[in-house]
Each structure stands twice: as C-alpha cells, then as structure tokens.
C-alpha cells in the first residue's frame, strides 16, 4: 500500500519555492539594481562560480588548518584539566571569561601581535575554535563516569592510558557539540578577518562585490558560504550517528 501523502510532505520544497517567488515578485516590482531578484543571483552564481570557488578554497584552507591546530591543542588540554581537578578549577574562570568574548573581537587583538598575513589569520581562527572545544572537552572530562574510572583502575591502566582510552571516548559526544560551535566560530572569524585585513578569501570577494555595487554577486557568495556550513554540519551529524551510536543508544535505553 502506498502511504497517503499529506500536504505537509511537500512543504520542504514548496515553501522555499514560495519564498523565492515572493522575492522575485518584490524584486521585479522595485526593479532597482540594489535589490536583485533570484534570476539575477542565479546569473551571478554562474558568472562568478570559478572565482567564488577559488576564494572559498582559500578561506576554507585557513579554517581547516586553524581548526586542526585548535583541536590538537585543546582536546588533550581539556581532558587533562578535567582530570587534574585543582588546576582545572583554577583555570575555570579564565575559560568562562574567554567564552564570553565575542570571537571576532580576537581579530584586532591578534593583529597587534601577528600582523595581517596568513599565519595571523590562522592564529585568529585557531583561537576562536579553541574556546568552545576546550570548554566542551573540559566539561565532559570533569563529569566522567565513576564506574568507568573504577574499571580503568582495576585494569591497571596508567594515567595516560586512562585519559586516552576512557576519558577521550567518553568525552566525544560533548566534543562533537563543541566541534559544531567551533566550526561556526572559525568560519565567522575567517570571514571577518578577510574583510578587515584583505588579501584573499571569500570575505575579500564579498567586500569587492560591495565596492562594485554587485549585490547579486555578493548574495551568490553568501549562498556558497551557507551551503558550506550546511554540508559541514550534515557531515558532523552523520559522523555522530555513525561513530557515536553507542552514546545515543545508551540515551534511548535510559528513557
């Protein structure tokens, strides 16, 4: 039997189409070059595709490097701080304060030390990504499972082994949340730093489009940034489903 289709089943496609239609009508009725319709933006996407890809590539390369640096430092650090209670508690207020700092505010600060080059931008991105990663890893490893701890001790695991084989896997679900926040912060700081300290990247592309009154081109750039974010988020979620199934299964059982 074919299940009966409800009107809501078509909504995921229908409603965006309605929005685009309203946008097209509004743009057609104002017919101002400062308010391009969807057709103009599609044209701009076609036109600027290779430029956008190159610039987005430059942006994403920095984001990936910065993120990798941040993860390599903060995940071990977070687990250690969670393990060594006293040091962790001492540094908790430092982390709390850093967490309230808006990530883009790092840009002018790092610029003072490191200038405006690639290394400086990667530092800014790494810093922005580090804070949510550190917070989440630390929180997760602080609230570890007593039982898992006792098992580790009865297996005579060394301190380092316990951190690697008990704490790290146990912290992964929360780290995954941190990763999603860190990716958003990294992308934001990357674009901000490019607009302020122009050399290359999608931020520079957006800035050029603005300077040349190419609104449609700018919207095309934004579209690709949003698409990138969507793909990254979907990948992280897929990863969580694939590798952290034990966590979600345990949650289901607990219900």
């Amino acid at each position: 039997m074919i299940p009966l289709r409800k009107p809501a089943d078509y909504a995921p496609i229908l409603m965006p189409l309605i929005v685009v239609a309203i946008w097209a009508l509004a743009a057609a009725s104002t017919s101002s070059p400062l308010f391009p319709g969807p057709a103009k933006v599609a044209q701009a996407i076609w036109h600027n595709f290779s430029t956008i890809m190159v610039q987005l590539g430059a942006t994403l390369t920095r984001v990936v490097i910065g993120f990798a640096v941040a993860a390599a430092i903060t995940v071990p650090l977070g687990i250690m701080l969670g393990r060594l209670r006293i040091i962790g508690q001492l540094f908790e207020p430092v982390m709390d304060m850093l967490a309230t700092l808006p990530p883009p505010a790092i840009v002018p600060l790092v610029m003072l030390f490191a200038g405006t080059g690639d290394a400086a931008k990667i530092t800014m991105i790494a810093f922005a990504a580090a804070i949510p990663l550190l917070m989440n890893t630390y929180e997760a490893s602080k609230t570890q499972n007593e039982m898992a701890n006792l098992v580790a001790r009865s297996l005579r695991l060394s301190r380092f082994e316990t951190m690697l084989r008990v704490d790290l896997p146990a912290a992964l679900p929360m780290i995954a949340t941190g990763v999603r926040m860190a990716v958003a912060a990294a992308l934001l700081v990357s674009v901000t730093s490019e607009i302020l300290l122009a050399t290359d990247g999608i931020g520079v592309f957006l800035q050029r489009q603005q300077e040349n009154f190419q609104i449609a081109g700018g919207l095309a750039g934004i579209f690709f940034i949003s698409l990138t974010g969507l793909v990254v988020n979907t990948l992280i979620l897929a990863f969580e489903k694939r590798w952290l199934f034990w966590h979600y299964r345990a949650q289901e059982d607990a219900k």
Partner: protein, 257 residues
C-alpha cells in the same frame, strides 16, 4: 546563603584572572608593549571614559544588542507557535532555517549596508538573522513536547485551541525557550560587535578596530574586557527576565532540590 557563596566565588575567580594576567605581564614572557599590565589597561579605559567615547559607544552597542535580542526572541517565539500550529509551515521552514542558520553574520554585513544603511535597522537585521534560532528551535521542540494530558485537560475545560496554545502550551514551553534566549544573547552580542567592526561608524566593535589599527594597545585590551563584561551583563538581564516571566518554574525546580 548559596547565592552569597556564588557571588564570592565569582569575585575570587575575577581576582585570580586579574592576578594571573598581571603576573604574566610582569614576568616579561611577553613584551610589555604587546601585553600591558592591569594598571595600564585601567588607565586606557579611564582615558576613554574621560573623552566620553567609551560610555557613548557602550550605550550604543548595548542598546542595539538588547533591542535586537528582544525582537529576535519575540519573532522566534512567534515562528515557533506558527510551526506548532501548522505542520506545513514547520516542515517548510526547516529547509529555510537550515540554509540561513550557517550564514556567518560577517558575510551579510557588506551587502546589508546597501539595503539598510548604517543605522539601527542594519544591526537589528543582523541580530535577527543569527539569534532567532535559539528561541525558535527550542520553542518548537518544547511546544511539541508538552504532555498530552495537559492539552486534554484544557480541552475538557472547554478552552479554545488558541487558549490552549497561549495558556497551556506556551507557558509550559517558556523555560526551554529561555534556555534558547540565553544562547541568543551571546550570539546577538557577537553579531553586534562584528557588524560594528565591519560597518565602521560607531559602537564598541568599531572602537576596537580603530584603537587596534592605531596601535593603542592598552585601550584595545580594555575594550576587550568591556565586551566580556557586556556578555556577563546580558546574561544577567536574561536571567532576570526569566525569573520575572517564569518564576513559577524557578520556584518549583528550586523547591524540588
């Protein structure tokens, strides 16, 4: 008693952070030029207060963040109610939100300036774009999770669907909506600062960029502390609003402990 303890713990933490900062500055591990001590930073802040630029821009930034946050909360709740009332809207809006959500506010600023100018409209648009999701997503989830018994009770009492929505479901969802608003408060501050940095006319974000580009290092650090302080202040305000609007929940969960 516990509140006093919490406050004193906060004070101790703050003192520790300041002491640590001063120790690093005095140790000379980082050149003093790049890492000024606390007295130099306070001096920088005092100068900016004396010229009036710090209070003036601080009021602008806080005003923008608050206005945007309130509007984003109201709009987010309205969309959540709409999502709950209409499955069509709920499913359709999910596609739209998953496309809009990952857009970093910085990317939108250059284009939005064209359409909206450099006034309050620009900031409200940017804040709405990034901080509506906390209240909306939490609200939609919480409205869906209202126990069926409560709705049925309302129906038995002869309440209209609208009354059930506003007098049973919405109050039940309020605590979770406030969790979303707390997150939105942090995001709205980020959005304001980044928009001010890029729009380049006024506000703390603009001041931050200008001081740093003219290598006024103590002032830059002072402004960084101001943005942190704003984050704490906004979180406190949200907490206060939560207590006023959902006091019953705070009392209930407080009593159960």
């Amino acid at each position: 008693m516990t509140r006093a303890l919490l406050w004193s713990r906060g004070a101790v933490s703050l003192i520790f952070v300041l002491a640590l900062w001063q120790a690093v500055a005095l140790s000379g591990a980082v050149p003093a030029k790049f890492f000024p001590g606390i007295p130099a930073i306070i001096d920088g802040a005092r100068q900016m207060i004396a010229t009036g630029e710090l209070p003036r821009n601080e009021i602008l930034t806080l005003g923008r963040a608050l206005t945007g946050l309130v509007l984003a909360s109201v709009a987010g709740i309205a969309l959540a109610l709409l999502s709950d009332a209409s499955p069509f809207f709920d499913r359709g809006f999910r596609t739209i939100s998953s496309l809009l959500q990952p857009v970093p506010p910085a990317a939108v600023v250059p284009m939005a300036i064209f359409a909206l100018g450099l006034g309050i409209k620009l900031y409200i648009f940017i804040i709405l774009l990034v901080s509506i999701w906390g209240p909306y997503l939490n609200g939609a989830a919480a409205l869906r999770a209202v126990p069926r018994e409560q709705i049925l009770t309302g129906r038995m009492l002869g309440l209209s669907p609208a009354a059930i929505m506003f007098r049973i479901k919405l109050p039940a969802a309020m605590p979770q909506i406030f969790a979303g608003i707390r997150y939105a408060a942090a995001v709205s501050l980020i959005a304001v600062v980044v928009a001010e940095m890029l729009a380049g006319r006024d506000g703390i974000g603009f001041l931050l960029v200008r001081k740093s580009f003219s290598i006024r290092i103590p002032e830059t650090y002072a402004l960084m502390f101001v943005t942190m302080f704003n984050g704490v202040l906004l979180a406190l305000l949200v907490n206060l609003a939560r207590r006023v609007l959902t006091g019953w929940h705070v009392r209930q969960t407080g009593a159960s402990k």
